[in-house]
């Protein structure tokens, strides 16, 4: 008791400035959130000193409340659509508009410097407003967004005088061609990072050359398909200090002058650690990059379908320091064996399918993954699309690599069992969750029964995100997960036999989570209504496809798509016709 009093005394003794200084060392969002919950004075100090805010669901809070709480906001990260929108399961126009956020921030006195958006609808109007409203705006990162054109980019280029970063990753951009790059004024020399790889159209080559020439701080440059080989050479001559390079078109005659020039330009770039692009490539051109392979820590060849097994392995044999590798499955199991024997520092591996029409020619199986697990003990993050998987392989992988934080396995044929034993993959995934005590994200596939969920509930104590498709036998499966995974934040389920019983057993659980997605399951309209009634702090959305307009209001009707999320601001006002918020 005495000791308790002394503690309290000491806390009140520190002036605010000291506490603020202490809080400066606390940067993670989670930790800062925890700090703010300690007591009123800590809440106050923390909120005034907070500069970076992450909002995982843009509908969970309103811009006004954000602005009111964090007047010192400089960097905002927002996410919009649910993850399954990536796979066309969410209709366009569902929502996730950034405009209201930018409008509210522009009206306030917030000195926004950085905006990072994922899966949001970004209009040219928003980009223009953004570019004109914040004098010190420095960094714009858009990932998987849509709704804007190169006109919006032109506004950013023209008006953000101190722009350091423009990073466009995998967005659907309406390309009006060419001129946006010319919108960077001659006085703009502050660029550190420029990524426009996702733009489909032509660009003004002279403009990009001049821009790079006047950007001495440029560290990261990712070009699009329209930038030819010889322009790349010119750009590299201007920017030998690059750390991260994304090539555009990489096709040229290896005996030509241009090729030799590029080779010597690349050799001058001794700082390149990260390489991507190769959107158009011919195998014989890859030798130009061998000189820089030895220092690479990140290599992304997942958009280079022109490279096959041998070309890839020849290249990778030069990359001994690789920590992250993104590749297509045409590397094959043998190729993965080469990765395993070469890349001892490998932490993250993503193997994407090259055959998307489903002709069943995926070139990697459980063998490749086992090779990797044996050769790369530091592996902690995996995304693996494969033809098949066995329990034995997964058990081996679990033994070899206990450090997985992210484990996403996609067997291309849904519900495919272990081809050797014809059993479900419950034991294999069970081994993964049991062995990998730090596992935060898991995606399942293949034939799975309720048993795998029992294991997940029992062992996956740190699990935050779980993706399930075509799995399970009954409500028990979903219940094991909801009851067992205490740290679960995001749960997304499609085509599973989980229904109202599972959904409604512990409605309070959803308040501890960011969101729940269920599509093509057994939940009914009645079940969703009940949930919405019991939990006013949740927004329960029913998304109807167009054919189901005649869909009756019968409570027994199964719901095609349900998305629910906790929110502090009630039902959103911008939902389209086909979204029904209960």
């Amino acid at each position: 008791m005495f000791w308790g009093n002394r503690k309290t005394l000491k806390m009140n003794y520190f002036p605010d400035e000291v506490l603020e200084h202490v809080f400066d060392f606390i940067s993670s969002h989670k930790d800062r959130n925890s700090v703010s919950l300690v007591c009123k004075s800590w809440y106050k100090i923390e909120r005034y000193s907070r500069q970076r805010v992450f909002i995982g669901n843009c509908y969970s809070i309103s811009p006004e409340r954000l602005i009111a709480r964090f007047p010192g906001l400089k960097s905002l990260t927002l996410k919009g659509m649910p993850h399954f929108a990536d796979f066309n399961l969410v209709p366009h126009d569902w929502g996730g508009f950034v405009y209201p956020w930018i409008k509210a921030l522009a009206k306030s006195r917030i000195g926004l410097e950085e905006l990072r958006l994922k899966r949001m609808v970004v209009s040219d109007e928003s980009l223009e407003l953004l570019s004109k409203s914040f004098l010190n705006f420095k960094s714009l990162v858009l990932v998987s967004c849509e709704g804007f054109t190169t006109d919006g980019l032109a506004a950013i280029a023209a008006n953000c005088r101190f722009l350091r970063e423009l990073d466009l990753q995998e967005n659907e951009v309406d390309d009006h061609r060419g001129h946006w790059l010319s919108s960077f004024p001659e006085s703009c020399t502050s660029l550190v990072s420029l990524n426009f790889a996702c733009l489909k159209g032509e660009i003004n080559l002279g403009a990009i050359e001049r821009l790079v020439a006047r950007s001495p701080n440029l560290k990261s440059l990712r070009l699009n398909r329209a930038v030819p080989f010889d322009t790349l050479q010119k750009l590299l001559m201007q920017a030998p200090q690059l750390v991260d390079l994304g090539t555009g078109n990489f096709v040229h005659d290896p005996s030509s002058e241009a090729y030799n020039k590029l080779k010597s330009a690349i050799q001058r770039c001794k700082s390149i650690r990260s390489l991507s692009g190769f959107l158009e490539v011919a195998p014989h051109c890859m030798s130009a990059i061998y000189p820089i392979c030895a220092n690479l820590t990140f290599l992304n060849l997942s958009y280079a379908p022109g490279l096959h097994g041998n070309d890839l392995t020849k290249l990778i044999q030069h990359c001994r320091k690789l920590q992250r590798l993104w590749i297509l499955d045409c590397i094959g199991d043998k190729g993965l064996g080469v990765v395993a024997s070469t890349c001892k520092e490998l932490q993250e591996l993503r193997v994407f399918p090259s055959d998307l029409i489903g002709a069943g020619n995926a070139a990697v199986t459980e063998e490749g993954l086992v090779h990797i697990s044996a050769g790369c003990p530091k592996l902690n993050s995996l995304l693996y699309f494969c033809q098949q998987m066995t329990n034995a392989a997964l058990i081996t992988v679990a033994k070899n690599c206990p450090n997985f934080i992210r484990f996403r396995l996609c067997i291309l044929d849904p519900q495919k069992p272990d081809p050797v034993t014809n059993q479900a993959l419950d034991e294999g995934f069970g081994a993964i969750v049991q062995s990998c005590k730090g596992l935060k994200r898991l995606s399942l596939s293949g034939l799975l029964t309720d048993q795998v969920f029992l294991y997940i509930g029992m062992y996956a104590e740190q699990l935050e995100m779980l993706s399930i498709a075509f799995a399970g036998d009954s409500d028990k499966g979903m219940l094991y997960v909801l009851n067992g995974c205490k740290k679960l934040r995001k749960l997304e389920i499609r085509d599973c036999p989980f229904g109202n019983e599972a959904l409604l057993e512990d409605v309070g659980k959803y308040e501890t989570m960011r969101s729940l997605w269920m599509s093509s399951c057994e939940v009914t309209l009645g079940g969703c209504k009940t949930l919405a009634e019991k939990m006013p702090s949740l927004s329960v959305e029913i998304i109807n496809e167009i054919e189901q307009m005649e869909f009756s209001l019968d409570d027994m009707q199964k719901v095609e798509k349900m998305y629910l999320y906790r929110t502090l601001v009630g039902h959103r006002k911008d939902a389209p016709e086909f979204v029904w918020i209960l």
Partner: protein
């Protein structure tokens, strides 16, 4: 489940795993598999049996088509890959490759012409079947020596040089590149092109 029986899905059920797996798990597999296909169908419970045969049949047909092909090709959003990536990796389609080739098709005696997109067919058998369906006729059997044998209808086309040629003589690609219009000749006129009736 009532509607399963109505649609007679067992005949077309897609079985995963080796034959001889237990009935129970096979059933569960198929019902789960079918679930993803059934989703698009309106609910077939109760009154639909007697009152709505047409839509039952239509729905059954739709289900047959869906379950007959590999599931993975049909399931929306599977494999889980971002559309951006899918679009980037599709076999490179140049403008020329994706351009449609619409040609007029006339049949002797028919009141009006039709138009078809030659790019929509992979080869002669598909094209001929489509023409047969469209105009309700049957071509004879094709042979290089004798042309179309066994029917008074003969498919012909006008090529880039303005000559009327028999459909089927040249490789498909060459045909689609040189065909300006199609004409299904009938009766005596057709005989001039080597048709033996």
């Amino acid at each position: 489940m009532a509607y399963e029986k109505d649609l007679n899905l067992e005949a077309t059920e897609l079985r995963l795993g080796l034959p001889g797996t237990s009935e129970e798990s096979a059933e569960k597999q198929t019902s789960a598999t079918l679930r993803s296909n059934k989703r698009a169908l309106p609910d077939m419970n109760e009154g639909s049996v007697s009152g709505d045969n047409h839509s039952n049949v239509a729905a059954a047909k739709k289900c047959d088509q869906e379950t007959a092909s590999p599931t993975k090709a049909q399931v929306v959003g599977w494999p889980p890959i971002r559309s951006y990536r899918k679009n980037c990796l599709q076999p490179k389609k140049t403008e020329a490759e994706t351009a449609r080739i619409y040609v007029k098709v006339s049949m002797d005696g028919a009141p009006y012409l039709r138009k078809i997109d030659l790019k929509g067919y992979k080869g002669y058998p598909e094209l001929l079947k489509a023409l047969e369906d469209m105009f309700k006729f049957k071509v004879g059997e094709y042979s290089e020596r004798e042309g179309y044998n066994g029917s008074e209808f003969v498919p012909t086309y006008e090529d880039k040089d303005g000559d009327w040629m028999l459909v089927g003589d040249v490789p498909w690609e060459m045909f689609t590149n040189s065909c300006k219009r199609l004409r299904i000749m009938k009766g005596s006129e057709a005989r001039g092109l080597g048709c033996v009736v």
